[in-house]
């Protein structure tokens, strides 16, 4: 097996809580991203998806655990090492409006990472910027313009061009299409798939939208209350979800097909997500799980292999 681009082991990120108890935003998460692979991270609001991706790009410090990028440990690394590794990992955020400096021309924004690191300047830089703009479906003459002259979809293209400038090994995307209109979402999804295929770049793709994740990812990790509950190849996850939460999540996605949607059995998941500053003991899903037993209320299920999947549920076999 080839060495992973990213290896996350037992990552925890706790924030100071309002009431004293820490917010356990991420609480012991492990996964790896192989070269050329896109790993999806899904789950509902507040489950810790963004915190994981923020930790991977170094925006929040881990409370515990290890983060290795191309084999280099980030926790406790020297500044110089971090700086070097950071160039290998780039991020695309949800909101293309706040991700771009309104006073910087598109060309300057896209070329900045190269200029700052002294990798290109002058004519060479301009040529590189033109190439990057073309790669994301924009035109070289767009380099002279400013972000406000572009629509949301085009701005997201600019953000992606900038993220690609340093030829990163890993692209981290946090809800890259959630802020876009439905009619331009497809443009950006097509671009992301094209880039995967053309560049063979690995990526970590965070989204709350299961259909989007299924469309662009090779493997999928499902998060609930700061932990992974299931990690599986895409087709296995969608064809045969193992964890009761994955099943409930899939059943709740309204499909844009009235015949199929109305024929679906309705098994609405009761209740709400508990607070991450006071997670339930044992399996944190037991407060909403229709299959919970005494064991679930006491013992934390570990993520273990089952068929092609990894699943954190005591009773996964009997549910199959």
């Amino acid at each position: 097996m080839t060495a992973p681009v990213l290896e996350v082991t037992d990552l925890a990120v706790h924030f100071p809580g309002r009431t004293g108890a820490p917010v356990r935003a991420v609480d012991g998460v492990s996964f790896a991203v192989a070269p050329g692979e896109t790993l999806g991270l899904v789950g509902e609001s507040g489950c810790g998806k963004s915190t994981v991706s923020n930790a991977v790009v170094g925006l929040v410090p881990p409370t515990r655990g290890s983060l290795r990028v191309m084999g280099t440990e980030m926790a406790g690394a020297t500044r110089a090492t971090k700086h070097e590794i950071r160039a290998r990992v780039q991020m695309v955020f949800q909101d293309p409006v706040t991700s771009l400096n309104p006073r910087m021309s598109v060309g300057a924004a896209v070329g900045e990472p190269l200029l700052v690191r002294g990798l290109a300047s002058g004519a060479a830089l301009r040529a590189r910027v033109d190439e990057l703009l073309e790669e994301v479906g924009l035109r070289p003459e767009h380099a002279q313009r400013y972000p406000h002259q572009f629509s949301g979809g085009q701005r997201q293209r600019i953000v992606i061009a900038r993220a690609l400038a340093l030829r990163p090994d890993l692209l981290v995307c946090d809800e890259p299409v959630s802020a876009l209109d439905v009619s331009v979402r497809a443009q950006i999804l097509n671009l992301l798939v094209e880039l995967q295929q053309r560049r063979g770049m690995a990526s970590l793709f965070v989204s709350h939208d299961l259909a989007v994740v299924r469309h662009v990812c090779d493997r999928v990790a499902v998060m609930y209350l700061g932990r992974l509950v299931e990690l599986a190849p895409r087709d296995a996850l969608f064809a045969a979800p193992r964890h009761p939460y994955t099943r409930a999540l899939l059943a709740a996605v309204p499909e844009p097909d009235p015949v199929a949607q109305r024929a679906k059995p309705r098994v609405p998941l009761a209740g709400e997500i508990p607070s991450p500053s006071n997670p339930p003991p044992g399996c944190t899903f037991h407060t909403r799980c229709p299959f919970a037993t005494e064991r679930c209320r006491q013992e934390v299920p570990s993520l273990r292999p089952l068929g092609e999947s990894m699943v954190a549920c005591h009773h996964a076999e009997t549910l199959a």
Partner: protein, 318 residues
Amino acid sequence: MTTEPALIVENLSLALGRANLVDGVGFSVAPGEVLALVGESGCGKSVTAQAIMRLLAPVIRQTGGRVLLAGQDITALPERAMRALRGQAMSMIFQEPQAALDPLATVGTHIAEALRRPLRDVRDQVLQMLAEVGISDPARRIDQYPFELSGGMCQRVMIACALISRPAVLLADEPTTALDVTIQAQILDLLRRLAAERRTAVVLITHDMGVVADIADRVAVMYAGRIAETGPTAQIFARPRHPYTSLLLASIPRLTDAPKSALAVIEGRVPTPAEFGPGCRFASRCPLADDTCRAATPPLRDMGDGRLSACFHAEQLP
């Protein structure tokens, strides 16, 4: 449908300065029916709902059209009379339930206010309504404040406020957009059940075709301030009669299609009101557009199957 519509909107037009935001929009909703008003951000869905409630921002003017509530023209009603209707004969719920609730008022106070009675007089009725919208432990929740509730629970409280006076019409503006899918499924089930039981006519505003497929009886697709197409939900999804609807449906990734396959793309972007020309507003992005389309506005035409389409070339669609 033989029952008289609970709500009729006729030829509604709205303007912001010279820009024409909404142009000749019309639809009707029968008691117990759910009509989805779908479209992308800025297409005029929310201002249409605000115009029906007469809650438009002062900068937006109604330049034409009528609103009929149970057959009565309410377009020219004085503000006093409108105030008597709002929350009584027609109610509205919003995307951000937390923002719509007063942080200093308890759940019970909010709902009693919708009945325009002091809470102590209507406590039992409020408790029953809380149970009906699926709030567990109503006796405890009734005295809680909005910050003590999750987003899903706040939306249930909003629905309780909106429906306790048994309005004929409920306008729901993206009521589940801010919620998680598992909570969204709960709220959609609740809306469907209450609309059926109480015979409430519901106008559901959304940009999510999945939500439309789940709950709507009929659909009105809006594009750039106009209705592109309206009709029964099943027909709109099975065989769209407007290029915009058809491309929109093809551009959505589905749980059933081939992963990583190229999605249909609608080139360009939605025009802003300042860019509206004389012709079809979809012409700049439409693969079927020709000179006819750019010269004149396509009228809504009867397609003969309960459907209206505003496209000159609807017959060319597969």
